[in-house]
């Protein structure tokens, strides 16, 4: 992508122009040429949103709850981005993304941007798409970004758990499948919501959650809070929002937020490297006429030596033109450096 094109895209994103914004997200999701450069350019404008993850079993009411939360946040004057993730079919590679059906009236609200996303499939691909889309939405200066994903445990797909605040949704009628409830919740959830409280059985789930928490080993982070909602009847949602806001405020003072953001950044860097290494490996080893296997069999090389060769090619070719940290610090034209200096001038 040419620099002019990229600048235009950054400008569209900064101005929150829907079509430009949407195309930028596609570029990132498709990992198309120019996506990496765009994200680099957006980076200085990111980090400003409260990222809320909403996760829980299929059909638990995550989208309905998101719809209600967004409406209340809008009434408070906040702007919101939503990333709604649904599974991609492993057979066809296609996906049926149905979360918008629960958020129909949000479509025309200019302060809201909703994007549906399939899990697709490449290793770490979803994380990169979600992190990238969060950044794009942050660059439009959304106050909140809500990420809805299906899951209960620690699956790769369960991106919501790297949010600043993680809401796990439960529902009555999961039967006696308490094991499924227990799996991982004490580690991932900041707020445990029993939704569909209008249906029988909600209080039983609530007490199961309570006893699970009581038995859980102590953790550094504050213990998760439990609350009940009926998204359908819009009950308990305001309390939930208050607790989400409170969670962030507390997280800021305790250092939990810094810790979460650090985790997210780490996962993002890992995901970028994983992709680039896999890509470079594939290119190097599938070149037509490549004789590495013959050389390996003859004892002329070793897997370790081959890996080292690929590694060098990766550094030279894949990251050509990408300044690493050291050159960035030293570079006089560094935008963030200038920014910092102008701040210092003010002081």
């Amino acid at each position: 992508m040419r620099t002019a094109e990229r600048d235009k895209m950054v400008e569209d994103i900064r101005a929150a122009r829907p079509a430009g914004l949407a195309r930028a997200i596609s570029l990132i999701e498709d990992e198309a040429e120019g996506a990496g450069g765009l994200l680099e350019a957006l980076h200085p404008h990111t980090g400003g949103a409260h990222v809320v993850g909403i996760t829980g079993p299929p059909g638990s009411g995550k989208s309905t709850l998101t719809d209600r939360i967004v409406k209340h946040l809008r009434a408070r004057g906040s702007t919101v981005g939503v990333i709604a993730v649904d599974p991609t079919s492993p057979f066809s590679g296609g996906a049926l993304l149905g979360d918008r059906t629960r958020m129909a009236d949000l479509a025309t609200d200019k302060g809201v941007f909703i994007r549906s996303m399939g899990t697709r499939g490449s290793l770490g691909g979803l994380s990169r798409a979600v992190y990238g889309t969060i950044k794009v939405l942050e660059a439009t200066e959304k106050d909140y970004v809500i990420v809805e994903t299906v899951g209960v445990g620690q699956s790769e797909v369960d991106i919501a758990r790297v949010a600043d605040t993680v809401v796990v949704v439960f529902v009555p009628g999961l039967g006696d499948d308490v094991q499924a409830i227990k799996a991982g919740i004490t580690e991932i959830g900041d707020l445990l919501v029993v939704n569909k409280a209008d249906l029988p059985g909600a209080s039983r789930i609530e007490s199961t959650l309570e006893s699970t928490l009581n038995l859980a080993p102590p953790r550094v982070e504050p213990a998760p809070k439990i609350l009940t909602t009926s998204a359908e009847r819009d009950e308990g949602v305001v309390d939930l929002i208050d607790m989400i806001v409170e969670h962030l405020a507390l997280a800021k003072t305790t250092g939990l937020l810094a810790c979460r953001r650090r985790m997210r950044a780490k996962a993002e860097i890992t995901a970028i490297l994983t992709r680039d290494i896999a890509k470079r490996t594939e290119i190097s080893l599938s070149e037509p006429g490549a004789d590495w296997y013959e050389r390996l069999q003859d004892g002329r090389t070793t897997p370790g030596a081959l890996a080292a060769t690929i590694w060098r090619k990766l550094v030279i070719e894949e990251y050509e033109g990408v300044e690493d940290e050291n050159s960035r610090e030293a570079s006089p034209g560094d935008r963030r450096g200038e920014h910092r200096r102008s701040h210092e001038d003010l002081l």
């Binding site: 829907p18 079509a19 914004l21 949407a22 195309r23 997200i25 596609s26 999701e29 498709d30 990992e31 198309a32 040429e33 991609t88 079919s89 057979f91 066809s92 590679g93 296609g94 996906a95 049926l96 993304l97 149905g98 918008r100 059906t101 129909a104 009236d105 479509a107 025309t108 941007f113 909703i114 994007r115 549906s116 399939g118 697709r120």
Partner: protein
Amino acid sequence: MSEGRIRVLIAKPGLDGHDRGAKVLARAMRDAGFEVIYSGLRQTPEQIVSAAVQEDVDVIGLSILSGAHNHLFPRILELLEEADAEDILVIAGGVIPEEDIAGLEDLGVSRVFTPGTSTSDAIDFIRERIGA
């Protein structure tokens, strides 16, 4: 766009409450490898166009049974133009009288599928036009 998957918004404008046909088509498209965003019943033209833009779809598939197509479709096409998104392919299906089809196609609906056409016709048509 060509680097990614074909993305389709399936929407039901109008007031009728039957989405069986739309859901069958949505599933067939998923099984054909498309990413299908299903936005549900009783969508206004404004909602449909706004969703299509946000989702950066290649195609909008409109399913309509209520007979309001001559009123709703022109509005949708007009809004697409305003949103700088007239490159999105618009196809339609449902109950649309034979005599209205030419008029809709003149407006910019790329293809109208009448009842009885199989889902694979719509899928083939999209593949051909989007070329992926």
